[in-house]
Amino acid sequence: MIEFEHVRKRFGDHVVIDDLSLRVEDGEFFVLVGPSGSGKSTLLRTVNRLVHVDAGCVRVDGEDVATRNVETLRRGIGYAIQSVGLFPHRTVAENIATVPRLLRWPEADIRARVDELIALLRLDGMAERYPHTLSGGQQQRVGVARALAARPRIVLMDEPFGALDPLTRESLQGSLKAIQRDMGTTILFVTHDMDEAFGLGDRVGLMLDGGLVQVGKPLELLHAPADERVRDFVGGTRARLRELAVRTVGENMRRGEQAEGEPVDAGTTLQEALGAMLTQGRDRLPVHEHGQAVGAIVLVDLVARGA
Amino acid sequence: MPVRVGSKADNEGAFLGQVILQVLRHEGVPAVDRTQLGPTSIVRRALLNGDLDVYPEYTGNAAFFFHRESDPSFRDAGKAYALAASLDLAANRLVWLTPAPADNHWAIGVRSDVAKREDLHTLRDLARWANGGGDVLLAGSAEFVESDAALPAFQSTYGFSLRGDQLLVLAGGDTSATIKAAAEGISGVNASMVYSTDGAIAITGLTVLADPAHVEMVYQPAPVFREEVLQRYPGVRAPLEAAFRPLTVDVLRRLNARTQIDGEEASKVAADYLRSEGLLK
């Protein structure tokens, strides 16, 4: 659990965070989204004290971070950044082992954990390679693995996928979401990409000019924007397209009906289902759940939805 | 603590330092070799600061240490030694032993063929030759040409004056460089500044002109001790003075030639000399 209470921060004359309060629950995937310069990265960096707050306080699991030993605090919190920051003179395995080493885990435990993460993030065969021999996507996978290595209960991620191509980004987002759900990790994630925010976040906080304009589930921001600024930012007409990316086939199918064509899974998003319809040239497709046909998804329902 | 023996870094300094060092060791006094330490400014300061215990210094230099360049006493060998010794003992608790008879002062040497042709023996003869329109071309260091103790003093005393085009000034040049210029007749040079004990004089065929008016101060080398060290080893005074006593201009010139012309090592030349004088077995 992370709590921000009346946090203020200024750099010189520029107010970066202006009296901000927020509570991120245990096991929650919370995304801070906003344009660059809105203060979201600074807010994230107050949690592991890379930035000191001028006023107010930041608490992790109920304890004010200002009272904690700074190295102990940081070793207990995962941290991944856009530029990755891998150590160029260390192998992939050594990079991943950074925090467990700092925490003086037994060597056998470190090796087991590194192997586990290499499998989890699909880095097989790369353990002994040096960072400069990896692609950008592979480097960021190592960065995420390094952030997760010591099984931190909280992970901070500052636009970790910002520099990657869309395909690589999507695949990494999928891996991260799955890992987070399995481990119950609390993640505070910063991005300026609305699609990424809505795709990943259990809750999303929209930051503008150092303050939180609206906090809520993705659909709440889409359906009930707090004001014009939020409406503009979530994207006007494109808001409906984003909604398709948030909702699943399961919520919108006609149960018990049948259809021709390649089936889609109940867990996929409506966006993917629409893509499948366009590819197959059909206006309805069968829906499967656990390999069983359970109903059909119909194009008119997607168009009519949310009216 | 052993006695630290220093010396200047020049040719003669290296030899005299070795003489002191080897005599001390022969007398059973533990001694450390710090010879060829550096230029006068460094060596003198080291002695004053108690970083050295003894080194050979020239009596005339005391005039500069105590800013008495115009004192006539420094133009008489006996008075120069007495004055240097008393001044340094009173001011710095330094003891000057009896110096060698050799007087190593600045002088002018001319090519022997020219000296013969023009019948030159003393600086008076040089003045006559120069004033009679002789083609003197003298090589010297900037210090020699400008210092009140050198050329200007010769000129005013003997009554001659060299024009700018009769001087070849080698800035920072040592006598070895100016002697070489005269010996090889570089740019028509036929006279050179010299030190009277220079080892290069004989072999390069220069005639050193005498200084009958004693324009130059007397520069006789003597071991200079810190008083407390000499008091600890009073027995070294006699053998050291015995080692310096035979050092006349001719002897010193010959010994300097061995290091300078033959390139022999100073310690070997010193050992040979002391052995020949029966001061070393």
Binding site: N48, L50, V70, E71, T72, L73, R74, R75, G76, Y79, I81, S83, V84, G85, L86, F87, P88, H89, T98, V99, L102, G143, R146, L156 | M1, G6, A9, D10, N11, A14, R34, Q36, L37, G38, P39, S41, I42, R45, A46, N49, G50, D51, L52, D174, T175, S176, A177, I179, K180, A183, E184, A200, I203, T204, Q260, I261, D262, G263, E264, E265
Partner: protein, 378 residues
């Protein structure tokens, strides 16, 4: 590198022309009546040596099979043969000369030998490491063997060395020791200072200002200023004095050399720390490394190659500068330079200077090896 159409590097042509000029110079050797006077020029082998160099000129402009091997052979023969030739000439001359006569290596010899050595260096560059080492070691072995056999004993430079054997060996040790102690202290003091300057971003301010000012103080003036405080220290702590610490000798010499070495060490430390990627540093801190862990695990390994490259320059500079240590009784090879200048004996000056150059080159080679090792590891 500019390459001619026929594939020979331009340096070969340049070096061969230098060689031709060297062969034509009148002074392959100089025969002096004694140690002080300048000798008369002597060049008995102008035609055969010129022929060798003209062959190199031809090789550099005309392509034919076996050209590389021929060039290699000529260069190697030059490196080994020219000294042997000079030594044999000197021996012959001295047999019928006065005992004071000196035979000195002249400008023609030095220039020609340098051209041959550079030609060999240039020619070996593209070849196998083993071939390179083999060619140089063979040349070194041949020259050393000839030296031990007395082939160069009649050359003035070698006679200087023979007259000063024991002091020369001692001075070489002193010189190395002075440079090594200075370098270690410069690293121990300069690296933390550099780290501090880098961290506080005062790199261009007070510290560098002071160090840059110290660089401009003439060494002799610095020595004169150091005698009193160092003598006082030795007096106040007799234990220091017993270690040889005092107003003259190695202590003030090392101190002065250290002052000259600190500025580059500080600068290269800052450059080394700047070479560490900012994101790696940010990640290291965010993951919970302490300042010391950041330094030892990230900044030092990543900045080390830059610092080492800097140390290489400082080492060579210090070996050169250590010559002035002779001015304050610390010995070293500079004593031959200053004594030689005082005696007007240029061969003695040359003896000290050559030894310093050889030492600097050897240390440079050592650091190159260290650098190559570091780079292979990274």
């Amino acid at each position: 590198m500019i390459r001619r159409p026929n594939g020979m590097a331009l340096p070969v042509l340049v070096l061969s022309i230098v060689g031709v000029i060297a062969a034509c110079l009148p002074a392959f050797l100089r025969i002096a009546p004694n140690r002080l006077l300048t000798g008369e020029a002597f060049n008995p082998h102008a035609w055969p040596v010129l022929g060798g160099w003209l062959l190199v000129v031809v090789c550099s402009s005309v392509a034919f099979p076996g050209r590389r091997v021929l060039l290699l052979a000529i260069a190697w023969a030059g490196v080994v043969g020219l000294p042997l030739l000079a030594g044999a000439d000197a021996h012959r001359i001295l047999m019928h000369a006065t005992p004071y006569t000196r035979v000195q290596a002249g400008a023609g010899f030095w220039l020609g030998w340098l051209a041959a050595a550079l030609l060999l260096l240039d020619h070996l560059r593209g070849m196998h490491k083993a071939a390179q080492a083999g060619a140089w070691l063979a040349a070194l072995a041949a020259v050393t063997l000839a030296f031990v056999a007395g082939a160069f004993d009649s050359l003035s430079l070698v006679r200087e060395w023979q007259a000063q054997r024991a002091p020369f060996t001692a001075a070489t040790g002193e010189h190395l020791r002075l440079a090594a102690i200075t370098l270690v202290l410069a690293l121990l003091i300069g690296a933390p200072l550099g780290w501090w300057a880098w961290r506080t971003r005062r790199g261009d301010g007070v510290l560098v200002g002071i160090l840059a000012f110290l660089q401009t103080v003439p060494s002799l003036a610095l020595f004169a200023l150091l005698i009193a405080p160092f003598a006082w220290l030795a007096h106040a702590w007799p234990a220091l004095g017993a270690l040889g610490f005092g107003g003259t000798g190695a202590a003030p010499a090392v101190f002065a050399l250290l002052l000259y070495a600190l500025l580059p060490v500080v600068r290269y430390t800052v450059a080394g720390l700047d070479a560490v990627p900012g994101d790696a540093r940010e990640a290291a801190r965010g993951l919970g490394m302490s300042r010391a862990q950041l330094l030892w695990r990230v900044q030092l390994p990543l900045g080390w190659p830059v610092l080492l490259a800097g140390l290489r320059i400082v080492a060579v500079q210090t070996i050169g500068l250590a010559a002035v240590a002779a001015l304050i009784g610390a010995g070293g090879l500079g004593r031959f330079v200053f004594l030689g200048i005082g005696q007007g004996a240029m061969d003695m000056v040359m003896l000290g200077t050559l030894a310093i150059i050889v030492m600097a080159l050897a240390v440079d080679l050592l650091f190159q090896g260290l650098l190559a090792l570091t780079e292979r590891r990274a």
